[in-house]
């Protein structure tokens, strides 16, 4: 009971300390709002009108699929709401249509655009311009951000759970379990991740789920090292010995007593792991090993930007989104670290040094696990 209480209070304390760091706090608010905004992408940026009033009937194209014949056209399969014919049908007389603010989905080809050749520079039609194939850059960035962050959340969550679980088992039981566990991890770590990805990308048609599985296989290793060390330290402390003496089963000791006291590295690393996952996805897309097809992808836009230096808007805006995301996550991470660090009285002053040292430490540790 006591430990739960302390956890609650330490949670509240943590939040208070985190809030105290204005930069980190606001970064957190902005990041979460941006993500929620992007989740509502279909309403904000879509090629289908939200509402169409045609011949005294109401239609909701962004929710339902209507063939062109509904609006007096001839094609039974699909309605291109950009076709001048369809546009005229749904706007003439009493009919009207309400389009989203940015009237493009990430794979909307503005077939009837008045632009010159693609990639088209920012204009009234396309606020941020288009990419080389004529897709709206703003829409692609919005959906690209959404998919990157969602992917990163999923990867981080899964990697963290797995890492904590494995680290906890190793650290708590120590001895032979730890010894053999470590050796297995060393072997696992020796598998070259990138080659594996390249090989799998050529066997299976690349998809987000495949990337998720492959990246998950390796993303837990570093974290499990930290958790293991924390567990190794904590398992010898008096309160654990006391709990054991009172006959509490192992799983409860792990769950209730040691885990809450070993979460510092886990929480501290969360934002950095998020940004690492975003970068991993972007770099794989950049190399052409990532998401296939017309899916929105920041990495793919980066490589287009590299190939078309004169189309400055592609590189500039993509870089802006990517850098903004990573910067926000770094600020959040810093604030979180300071909030968790009990030793430093003045958090803001020490931030930068801490970040630097911990990064180099983490590299060493993951490279040569003890």
């Amino acid at each position: 009971m006591t430990s739960i209480n302390t956890e609650k209070t330490s949670g509240a304390k943590l939040w208070r300390k985190f809030k105290h760091n204005r930069l980190g706090y606001w970064s957190f608010i902005i990041f979460i709002s941006l993500y929620i905004f992007s989740l509502a992408g279909e309403i904000v940026s879509n090629d289908k009108p939200l509402i169409v009033h045609y011949d005294n009937n109401w239609y909701f194209p962004f929710l339902h699929h209507y063939p062109e014949t509904t609006f007096g056209g001839v094609f039974p399969a699909y309605t291109d709401y950009y076709d001048p014919f369809v546009k005229e049908q749904i706007t003439k007389g009493k009919n009207f249509a309400i389009y989203p603010i940015n009237p493009y989905y990430y794979d909307t080809l503005n077939y009837f655009s008045a632009d010159g050749h693609f990639p088209a520079p920012p204009s009234r039609d396309h606020v941020l311009g288009t990419d080389t194939a004529g897709y709206d850059l703003a829409a692609r960035l919005l959906y690209g951000f959404r998919i990157s962050v969602t992917f990163a959340f999923a990867l981080t969550l899964f990697g963290t759970i797995l890492g904590v679980f494995i680290g906890a088992i190793q650290g708590y039981y120590a001895g032979k379990v730890d010894f053999f566990g470590q050796r297995l991890i060393e072997i696992w770590n020796a598998i070259p991740e990138l080659y594996l990805l390249i090989i799998f990308a050529s066997i299976f048609s690349p998809s987000l789920s495949l990337l998720f599985v492959l990246l998950s296989l390796f993303s837990w290793v570093m974290l499990s090292d930290y958790v293991r060390v924390e567990f190794l330290r904590n398992r010898q402390l008096e309160y654990v010995k006391a709990a054991r003496a009172m006959g509490l089963p192992n799983r409860l000791i792990i769950w209730r007593h040691i885990l809450p006291n070993s979460l510092t590295p886990v929480i501290t690393f969360l934002p950095f792991r998020l940004s690492a996952a975003i970068m991993a996805l972007a770099s794989l897309d950049f190399l052409g090993l990532g998401v296939s097809n017309t899916g929105p992808s920041l990495g793919n836009l980066m490589s287009q930007g590299k190939a078309n230096l004169d189309a400055w808007w592609i590189s500039l805006f993509t870089f802006g989104v990517l850098m903004g995301t990573l910067l926000l996550l770094t600020f959040i991470g810093e604030a979180l670290r300071n909030a968790l660090d009990n030793r430093t009285p003045d958090p803001i002053k020490r931030t930068n040094e801490n970040l630097l040292t911990s990064k180099s430490e983490s590299r060493e540790l993951s490279g040569a696990p003890v």
């Binding site: 062109e68 001839v74 094609f75 039974p76 399969a77 699909y78 291109d80 076709d83 001048p84 014919f85 080809l109 077939y111 009837f112 655009s113 632009d115 010159g116 050749h117 693609f118 990419d131 080389t132 194939a133 004529g134 897709y135 050529s202 048609s205 690349p206 897309d285 052409g288 090993l289 990532g290 998401v291 296939s292 097809n293 017309t294 793919n300 490589s303 287009q304 590299k306 190939a307 078309n308 230096l309 004169d310 189309a311």
Partner: protein, 611 residues
């Protein structure tokens, strides 16, 4: 006595039927007479010297050997053009004529079953050995053996063998009697059998010759090569052929250097910063927007269009005729109607391209309007095997100029599909047996700039487009076994169409895996017409047959026609000058290497003279 008389008869026959000429034209007479001094499109007084810096022009961004003929490894750029010479070379201002280079004269059998080349007395290899008939035979035998790359074997496959007539005369015997094989024989590169002989007298087998310095007869020799990065050639001052009429005013640069780039964007940036001198651009994305900066503003680098008359080859996308759904000509026509070439040209290529509209676009062989009487006479015997449309107007490809016609084209496509039995129901275009119409296309990981708009149009018609990404090896294998729906297709560019048409359209090859008949055309009419075209005796006969064939092929709606350029888009350093007269049929790079000169070379010569 008997011997003498047979000899006399033999010589009489020889005198009657064959003429040893300085050149050979496929039809008619060569433009340049035997005593010509130089080609019209060169500057005979071009100064020699200076240097030309090129970047990699082919696919190879690195090299590891100096042997362009064997299979293993990647050859350095420029070897074939600079170090080796062929028996004859093409003039660049006639459709199909070649003139002796290593050969002093050319004799062709009256029935075109062989060609004979008599070699120049002075012709010599870079090691000062004379070029003899035995060397020609050695080169041919090597290139058609398993020691050489299969490309050469395939290229020379219609030549039966080479006979040595005397020390300096060789005869190429053809498998098929044809005028165009003369040109194939004439393009044989000749090299010395001593190439690959080590100092200790050991012989390296040809397939293993790689960095051994090549022994050819060409005007340049390798000066310096750094693997993967650069190769420099130096003009041979004692080049045997410098006074030949076909060489006068050509190959003027003292040094030619190739710099290699691994990445196209880097290559473009390097040109911007003046790392090399010339580039012939074929991607309008780069041409329109990337050649900017100080060097262009100051006039050091110039952008110029050089018009040419190279006939555009038929290229485009083909539908697999082996699949039931593509067998109906109306379906193919509908699929071609759904494609909006003008959109791609405007949105992606900034309107730089023209669209191929015939199998012989821009040549005298292209069909126009209604068939002439001569064409009708050719087509009449096949009337019951042909679509009646063939006897009517020539195919007009669907267009969307003025813009907005795409809707009309799509409605036409829908109508054609309905006629062929494909009606939309239950979420897809279906035939009588309820199968949905699907097209599997090779997918890409990024957006597919060229075809996304086409797929969108197909989607509007209710066709299901399945994109499938696969690695190059798998795709190649599937294409080899004709297991595809939709693929890109290109005929080889040819000034006068010949065997490449036969390889791509003959019925027999349609069922042979790995053959060039990728589309799967099986038509006795097309077979017969191509055969006639290959045997044409004169230019006018070839034109009539070509027009008739064009009608049959175009009315088959086999290929979704694609694009061509009628100019060379060249970026060059203003230091380099060119002859006033442009050739007609030429490759920009070869033309620049052969006929341009370095204006700095004059000033160096002058200053040396002053000293």
């Amino acid at each position: 006595m008997k011997l003498i008389s047979t000899c006399a008869v033999f010589f009489l026959l020889l005198a009657q039927n064959t003429y040893a000429e300085h050149g050979f034209a496929q039809f008619g007479k060569p433009k340049y007479r035997a005593d010509f001094q130089h080609f019209d499109y060169v500057n005979p007084d071009a100064p020699k010297g200076g240097e030309l810096n090129l970047s990699n022009t082919g696919i190879n961004s690195s090299f590891d050997k100096f042997n362009p003929f064997n299979l293993k490894g990647r050859p350095a750029p420029g070897l074939l053009e600079l170090v080796f010479e062929t028996l004859a070379i093409y003039s660049l201002d006639e459709p199909n004529t070649h003139y002796g280079l290593l050969a002093e004269d050319i004799s062709v059998a009256p029935d075109f079953s062989w060609v004979e080349y008599r070699l120049h007395k002075h012709a010599q290899f870079s090691n000062h050995d004379p070029v003899l008939a035995a060397d020609v035979k050695y080169s041919f035998d090597t290139l058609t053996s398993t020691k050489a790359s299969p490309t050469f074997v395939a290229y020379f496959s219609e030549i039966e063998r080479v006979d040595i007539i005397d020390e300096r005369t060789v005869r190429f015997i053809f498998k098929r009697k044809s005028r165009d094989l003369v040109f194939i024989a004439g393009s044989l590169p000749v090299f010395s059998p001593n190439w690959g002989l080590t100092a200790s007298g050991e012989r390296i087998s040809f397939e293993n010759i790689s960095t051994e310095s090549p022994i050819g007869s060409g005007p340049y020799q390798i000066e310096k090569a750094i693997q993967k990065r650069t190769i420099s050639y130096k003009r041979n001052e004692n080049y045997w052929g410098k006074d030949l009429a076909v060489r006068r005013g050509t190959l003027n640069f003292g040094h030619i250097n190739y710099k290699l780039y691994k990445d196209r964007d880097t290559q473009v940036s390097a040109l911007r910063s003046g790392d090399y001198d010339v580039f012939s651009e074929n991607q309008m994305r780069y041409w329109c927007c990337q050649y900017i900066g100080n060097r262009f503003d100051s006039g050091e680098l110039k952008k110029e269009l050089f018009p040419h008359k190279n006939p555009p080859a038929m290229t485009g996308y083909a539908y697999n005729l082996r699949k039931e759904k593509f067998k109906d000509v109306r379906v193919r026509k509908a699929l071609i109607y759904a494609f909006d070439f003008q959109w791609v040209n405007q949105k992606i290529f900034d309107n730089y391209f023209g669209r191929v509209y015939s199998y012989f676009s821009l040549t005298a062989l292209e069909a126009k309007g209604l068939p002439s009487e001569a064409e009708l006479k050719l087509l009449e015997p096949y009337r019951n095997q042909l679509d009646p449309a063939v006897f009517g107007d020539f195919v007009k490809l669907p267009t969307t100029t003025p813009a907005g016609n795409v809707r009309a084209n799509l409605i036409e496509a829908k109508k054609l599909l309905a006629e062929a039995g494909w009606i939309y129901r239950d979420g897809a275009l279906r035939n009588a047996s309820n199968e949905p119409f699907t097209i599997e296309v090779s997918g890409s990981r990024g957006p597919n700039m060229l075809l996304d708009a086409y797929y969108l149009n197909l989607k509007k018609l209710g066709i299901i487009v399945q994109e499938k990404t696969s690695d190059p090896a798998t795709s190649r294998n599937r294409l080899k076994n004709f297991d595809y729906d939709f693929t890109n297709f290109a005929l080889r560019e040819a000034r006068i169409p010949s065997s490449e048409l036969w390889r791509s359209f003959n019925s027999e090859a349609a069922s042979k895996p790995g053959s060039d008949n990728i589309i799967g055309v099986k038509s006795p009419v097309i077979d017969a017409l191509i055969k006639k075209l290959m045997d044409a005796e004169s230019q006018s006969e070839a034109e009539t047959i070509g027009k008739a064939l064009d009608r049959v092929l175009m009315h088959g709606w086999y290929i979704q026609p694609w694009r061509y350029l009628s100019d060379h888009y060249v970026v060059y350093n203003s230091r380099l000058h060119r002859p006033k007269t442009l050739p007609l049929y030429y490759n920009a790079n070869e033309w620049m290497i052969a006929t341009w000169w370095d204006s700095k070379a004059i000033s160096t010569i002058n200053s040396l003279a002053k000293q």
